[in-house]
């Protein structure tokens, strides 16, 4: 093998590697700038949705990071802020009620109290609303945090479309930060809750904006 052939092979291997890395990055990157409008809210967000195969539960991951002026703001904001994962649509008194019930959470987000669940709308049996009270002074600059909610599926109807919402809150007021719309599809032994779109556009990798 001549020197020039070896050089060409090396260049083409490097280019292939770079293209491959770029493709992987495209699949993994879901971070988008958030438009909630609060100066102390997370700068960027990202979702993943784990439907599982033939399970009675669905897991929704919410990623958040603070940087720049929003990081400075949350650092001095005091302990009254929280992130809320709402397994329903809180607008107009609430829709998509009683479809999901949150039974457990996990998080790397530093908290000042344990998270709590409450009924968001509809029957009080189903707890659709999870609150993560943020320990503001422990938030790091540009650090990736995640929270997740594990939810049991209820009252599924084939073909119905519902949604979950994410917001930043200061106890009294919510600033909407994102949503996932999902479609219920009958299957055995459990229904599938499959995403159809998400907002802001790009926050759920591979799905269009709503």
């Amino acid at each position: 093998m001549t020197k020039s052939v070896r050089l060409r092979l090396a260049i083409s291997a490097s280019v292939s590697l770079m293209l491959l890395m770029s493709a992987v990055a495209t699949v993994l990157a879901g971070w988008v700038n958030l438009t909630h409008g609060h100066a102390c809210g997370p700068t960027q967000g990202n979702f993943t949705w784990s439907q599982g195969n033939n399970t009675n539960a669905v897991t929704w991951y919410q990623y958040a990071k603070w940087s720049g002026s929003q990081y400075n703001c949350i650092q001095g904001a005091g302990d009254w802020y929280q992130l809320e994962a709402e397994a329903y649509n809180p607008a107009g008194g609430g829709t998509s009620c009683d479809k999901l019930h949150t039974y457990s959470t996990s998080y790397t987000l530093p908290l000042r109290s344990s998270p709590s669940v409450a009924n968001g709308c509809g029957s009080t049996t189903y707890k659709e609303e999870t609150k993560f009270p943020i320990k503001s002074s422990s938030i790091g600059n540009n650090v990736e945090y995640w929270t997740l909610t594990r939810n049991y599926k209820y009252n599924a109807v084939n073909g119905q479309v519902h949604e979950v919402n994410w917001s930043f809150s200061n106890l009294a007021t919510d600033w909407w930060a994102g949503k996932v719309r999902y479609r219920m599809e009958s299957g055995a032994p459990y229904f599938g809750y499959f995403p159809t779109c998400a907002s802001p556009s790009g926050i759920l990798s591979g799905y269009p904006g709503c």
Partner: protein, 242 residues
């Protein structure tokens, strides 16, 4: 004419200066109050100075959020713990038999078996259990499981294991949990309940603030969210719970 114009100009300057002074003075006096209002409704400090609280009333329900006073540093937490100890001793004398919402923070992570035994002995009805640990990349993480009152087959150890994802793509995959650090729930104010928790060296804080804050707000029923310093505490070495 010029003299009149100069006088009028001077007068205008005085009015602007006076108005600015009043505005700045007002901002200086009311600034913290305005900031408090803007940051989430009225937040208030307890007369004891040990904590702050915020009240939300929606329809018939009342929600009260409690935080440590100050910036929640070590001294603020210590003052909060001491105030709780003093209040707990007083409640054992004056409010025996009453029900109390509490958040219990342990001094170190406990196993599921230890937690269940401790709660059973003290008669605590748990609403949620929080275990702590580290992700595969070493980041601190926690997991909270909520007890469903109607679920007959509750198994804490199983729930703790199920809280870690088996999906290699998930950020909590391969997480290592150290044990349980926090329990939220209800107990009875008694020597067998609260008294037993206060005497147990594994308990860092058995919070009684809900009793005081409900009296301050003037309600008998409320959802009270109590603070816990668990995130900043020592969770030990990165080991897997046996």
């Amino acid at each position: 004419m010029n003299i009149q114009r100069n006088n009028a100009f001077r007068h205008t300057k005085v009015v602007i200066a006076a108005t600015s002074l009043v505005f700045v003075l007002g901002l200086w006096l009311l600034g913290p109050r305005i900031a408090t209002v803007l940051s989430g409704g009225f937040t208030q400090s307890a007369p004891s100075g040990a904590f702050q609280y915020a009240v939300q009333r929606e329809h018939a329900s009342v929600e009260i959020d409690v935080t440590f006073n100050g910036n929640g540093g070590q001294a603020d937490v210590q003052r909060y713990v001491q105030a709780n100890m003093a209040r707990a001793q007083a409640l054992l004398q004056e409010a025996a038999g009453e029900r109390l919402w509490t958040t219990i923070t342990f001094t170190k992570p406990l196993t599921a078996q230890e937690v269940e035994q401790l709660l059973r002995d003290a008669g605590v009805e748990a609403a949620s259990y929080t275990q702590v640990g580290w992700t595969a990349t070493g980041q601190r993480m926690a997991s909270t499981s909520f007890r469903d009152p109607v679920a007959p087959d509750f198994n804490l150890k199983q729930l703790a294991q199920d809280a870690i994802s088996s999906d290699p793509a998930a950020p909590d995959y391969d997480a290592r949990m150290a044990g349980f650090m926090v329990v939220d729930g209800v107990m009875t104010i008694s020597e067998q309940g609260l008294g037993r928790l206060l005497a147990d060296p594994r308990v860092y804080l058995a919070d009684t603030t809900a009793y005081e804050v409900q009296k301050l707000v003037g309600v008998t029923e409320a959802s009270v969210h109590l603070p816990t310093p668990f995130w900043e505490m020592d969770w030990g070495a990165e080991t897997i719970e046996e």
